[in-house]
Each structure stands twice: as C-alpha cells, then as structure tokens.
C-alpha cells in the first residue's frame, strides 16, 4: 500500500458552482476517488424543515456532471455526502435522478450506483425517550423532550463512514449519501482501502471544504489529499493557491468550537499533536493525528420545526431625529399590531441595519447609528393571510409612528416597495442532539442499482 489520492472540488456542492480549471488539473493528476460534501446546517433550518434546497438545481447538476464524467473516465468512485444541502430522502432521490439523467445524456457505459437515506422517524425518537435512552443535547441544549419533538417537522441523522463503507464494499461506482459528517465521505474511501483511522479521518477533515484549506482565499477550487499509513498531504490544484502550514493548520479549526477535536459517529479525531511540514511549494504534510473510538455509538440528530408563515417588509429612515428614536418607532408599530391581533400567536422581528441589524446586542457601536437606516421587518403567523397582515401592520405603521418633535409629519419612513414580500415559512432548529443506537447502519438504509 503506497498511497491513495482523493480530489475534492467543492466544499458545499451546489452552493456555488465548482471552478472547472483547477478541477481538471486535479483530474489530470489521476486521483483514486472524487468526492464532495453537499450539505450544511449553516444554511439555517428552512431547507430541512420545508424539505427544499438552498441552491439552484442548475448549479448542483453542473457539479454532478463534472464529477461524474471525470470519475467514469478515470474509472474511479465518485462520492457525494449530504445530498442537496440537507441530505433528506427527497434530496438523495433527486441527486440519484440527476445522475441517471446525466448518464443517459452522455451515453455513459453501465455503472453501479449506491445511495443511503438518513431521515429519522419522529416516533422512533419518541420510543427512545420513552424507553429511557435520553436524546442528549449538544452545545448547552437540554435533553430532548417530547414537546420539542412534537414541534419538529423533519429530522436527519448524521451518518459516519459506515453506509459509505458498505456501498463501497458492494462495488458501487457512484455513491449519493444522505446527511453525514463532512469528513466521513473521504475517510470512508481511505478506510475502505485499509488506511488507519487517524490518518483517514484527518484526510476527511482537511478535504471537506475543498480550497478553504489553501491560500490565498478562493472558494470552490479543487484540492487533492494523499494518504499513506503515516501521514496526510494536501495540495492546492489551483495555480493561484498553495496549501501552507498556516492555511492547513488554520483550517483544522474552521467551523468548530475547538481546534483539537472533531467528533464523528463512532469516535473522535484528536488533532492536539498534529505536526505540519511544508514539503513542496503547494503541499503541506500532516502527521501526529490520533483517533479515539467512542465507547457508546451515538449519532447526531438535526431537526427543524415550523414556527409559522412569514412575510418580509422593508423601511428606510433618513431623518436624524427619527433615527435617534428608532426604538420608539418600532415600539409604535408593534403596539399597533398588538391592538389588532393581541399579544400572542404572532411574531414581529425587526433588524435595524445601519445600527445593529447584523450583530444585535453584541454590536459595540449600536449607540452610533449610521445617517440612514434600513429596517427589515419579519411578520410570522399561523396562516399566510395573517402573516401578511402582521407584517404589513408592523411595516406600514413605522410610517405613522407618533414622535413628539418630528418635523416631517407626512411620513416617518421611506419605502422601496409599498408592499410586503411572501418569504419562506419561518423554521427553527429544534434538534441539535445525539441518540444512542445499537447498529451503526440502523438509521441509514442503503440501496444499489445499475445505471446504463
């Protein structure tokens, strides 16, 4: 066993299209696998809750086509995790269908496709709670209650390497995964070929976001990871980028609270003693990683629940006196909504851009607002009709706020649109928890088929 090479062209397949230039350089280097993750909880709870994508189908198809054509030409497996942003069953089916369509269009020779699901039935989770196996909260969340479960529309479990390994063992050329840990896709390829766990999981960790482990900053460029039993090397494929000690070590801490530990289903990658060497201009070598198997097999669950229908309004303010009293303006509009709908059963949210619209109470400069403000208003209610009226009241009444000393009495705010816009329903993350399971494959049923 000498080494194994994987290229990753995109850190979130579909979120923006991959850059073909560096991808084709990567393909020319003859990798043993082509893999990418397609999902994220960064996009908020709406896509999971409403079972939709965050990205246009055209971008997803673009990346799947590039990867499929290259993988079939090289005769190497192609692997995708967390299909369609969320990894729900419908997104997996959609990706499998896209692969079928591309294969037909391109007249590809027959190949084996495998896929797995990761949605979890709410009643399965309820049975765990009632059976005395607590669904433990992550990140300071309390253990899951049945109330919170009832407020959940859709749940996905985060797979580790196991369903990928099963499908690789079954000889699949293309694998479309449901929700999974980003690193598991790549780690599974290396584990399948017999490489040690520590190096395999590190390979996954460093490749999962493609060129985010390279510098200078440039997203959607291909990087290549090479694993041996002793080390992992990562190389930027873009002519503009390098993988440096700083960029690779820095990436280890990206998007996680602690730079030393990466938890996956079945264990933890420990990067505490990692050592980084610049072995070529564009290549950094990493050694010293450890893998600590978990004592109990716990799977992370993500859940999203609908809060209500939603409309969005916008209003601008230029009058300095009104800007100084913007909270009173908002309070007025809210009071008018209360007069109409009472105090419960609806929500109004105001983000005051130009003051603290982005950071809220964490904004250090909130007492120094800009010379003009934009207020984004969200109105949420159980029905579309009520949400529209809540939002319209909460926006329109900004216009009529009664400030005692305002000079402009013909209208207190500016409108770009004299209407409110129908937006996606509001959802919230209801589950960020872990659940014990007996069998690593229990929640992730696999399927295979021949295409072509």
């Amino acid at each position: 066993m000498s080494s194994l090479k994987i290229i990753c062209p995109n850190g979130h397949l579909g979120f923006a299209p991959l850059k073909p230039g560096s991808f084709h350089i990567g393909v020319a280097a003859k990798p043993d696998f082509i893999a990418a993750d397609s999902g994220s909880d960064d996009i908020g709870p709406v896509p999971l809750g409403s079972d939709t994508c965050a990205s246009p189908k055209a971008w997803q198809r673009h990346d799947l086509r590039e990867m499929l054509l290259a993988a079939r030409k090289l005769g190497v497996p192609m692997m995708i995790g967390s299909a369609g942003d969320t990894g729900t069953n419908s997104r997996v089916d959609m990706y499998v269908q896209m692969i079928r369509e591309i294969a037909t269009e391109e007249g590809l020779a027959p190949f084996r496709i495998g896929w797995f699901y990761s949605e979890v039935d709410r009643e399965f989770v309820r049975a765990k709670i009632r059976g005395g196996s607590p669904i433990k909260g992550l990140d300071a969340r309390a253990d899951l209650t049945e109330d919170k479960l009832d407020a959940t529309d859709r749940i996905v479990a985060m797979a580790g390497v196991h369903p990928f390994l099963k499908l690789l063992d079954e000889g699949c050329d293309v694998i479309i995964g449901g929700r999974c840990s980003d690193s598991a896709i790549f780690a599974a390829a290396a584990l399948h070929k017999g490489y040690p766990e520590a190096q395999s999981y590190y390979l996954g960790k460093v490749l999962e976001c493609a060129s985010f482990c390279a510098e200078p900053y440039g997203a959607k460029e291909t990087v290549m990871g090479e694993i041996t039993p002793e080390h992992v090397e990562v190389t930027a494929m873009s002519p503009e980028q390098r993988c440096t000690i700083a960029s690779v070590a820095g990436h280890a801490m990206y998007e996680r609270s602690n730079p030393f530990h990466e938890f996956v289903a079945g264990g933890m990658l420990d990067m505490t003693h990692c050592h980084y060497d610049q072995v070529a201009e564009k290549t950094t070598r990493v050694t010293g990683m450890d893998f600590v198997p978990a004592e109990e097999f716990r799977v992370k669950l993500e859940g999203s629940g609908k809060v209500g229908e939603r409309f969005v309004g916008m209003a601008g303010i230029r009058d300095p006196y009104t800007i100084a009293h913007v909270d009173e303006v908002i309070a007025w509009a809210r009071a008018q909504t209360e007069e109409r709908f009472g105090t419960d059963g609806w929500e109004l949210h105001y983000n005051v851009f130009g003051r603290n619209g982005i950071m809220g109470d964490m904004e250090p400069l909130k007492d120094r607002p800009a010379h003009e403000l934009c207020i984004v208003v969200q109105g949420i209610a159980p029905t579309v009709e009520m949400a529209e009226e809540v939002c319209m009241t909460g926006t329109r009444q900004l216009f009529y706020a009664r400030l005692p000393d305002v000079k402009g009495t013909a209208g207190g705010v500016s409108f770009v649109l004299d209407e409110v816009m129908h937006a996606s329903p509001a959802y919230t993350w209801t589950l960020n928890h872990t659940m014990a399971v007996d069998d690593p494959l229990e929640l992730f049923p696999t399927h295979t088929a021949t295409i072509g």
């Binding site: 909880d41 908020g44 820095g250 990206y254 996680r256 730079p259 050592h275 993350w429």
Partner: protein
C-alpha cells in the same frame, strides 16, 4: 513612536462562522509566530476582553483556545437563538468578527 497597533494590521485572518446551529466561533490567525506571541503576551485578547467587546455574559463563552500550530487565537460563543431563527441577522455567523478589527494591541508587551 507608535506603540499600539490594530489587530487588523497584525493578523492574517480575522473571521467568524457558525460552529453548528447554536454557536459562533471566531478565528484570529497570524502569519508569524512572533506576532502571535506578542498578541498573546499583550493581553488584548482574553476571555474577559472578548466577552466585553461583544457585550456577552462570560457564561456564553464556551471555548477560548490559544492554538499554537496555526498561530491562532480561537474562541466560541453560544448564540442567543439557533442560527436562522426569525430575527437572526446573520444566518452563517460570518459578519460577527468586525468588532475585533480595531482592537488595539500594545506592541511593547
């Protein structure tokens, strides 16, 4: 001689991003070990100072790590509400780092 410099002039990267649905993590990464060591020594970034800068209760700071392999200082806070809940002004948590750009560092430390 000016003995104070802004963090933005010293660091290679100052960024924020979601760490899961309930946390935002901040990475401040330096190019050279010397600068990293100096900022560590200066005390400009501590558990207390970052909480103060963001006006958050210290109980919301879950991690504060000086990460030598990357010449980086990294800290993580719990969100007020899960990412993408209505009213959240930054679903990705990607613009929360701005208040750290002009943190002043005592270069004589």
């Amino acid at each position: 001689m000016n003995t104070r410099k802004k963090l933005a002039d010293l660091a290679k990267t100052i960024r924020s991003k979601n760490a899961g649905t309930d946390k935002i993590t901040f990475d401040i990464i330096f190019r050279e070990k010397e600068t990293y060591d100096l900022v560590k020594r200066s005390g400009a970034l501590t558990r207390q100072s970052v909480c103060q800068r963001l006006n958050v209760d210290p109980a919301r700071l879950t991690d504060f790590v000086e990460y030598d392999p990357a010449y980086a200082i990294k800290f993580t806070i719990l969100r007020e509400r899960p990412s993408g809940s209505a009213g959240d002004g930054d679903i990705f948590g990607a613009q929360q780092y701005a208040p750290f750009l002009d943190v002043e560092v005592d270069m004589t430390a």
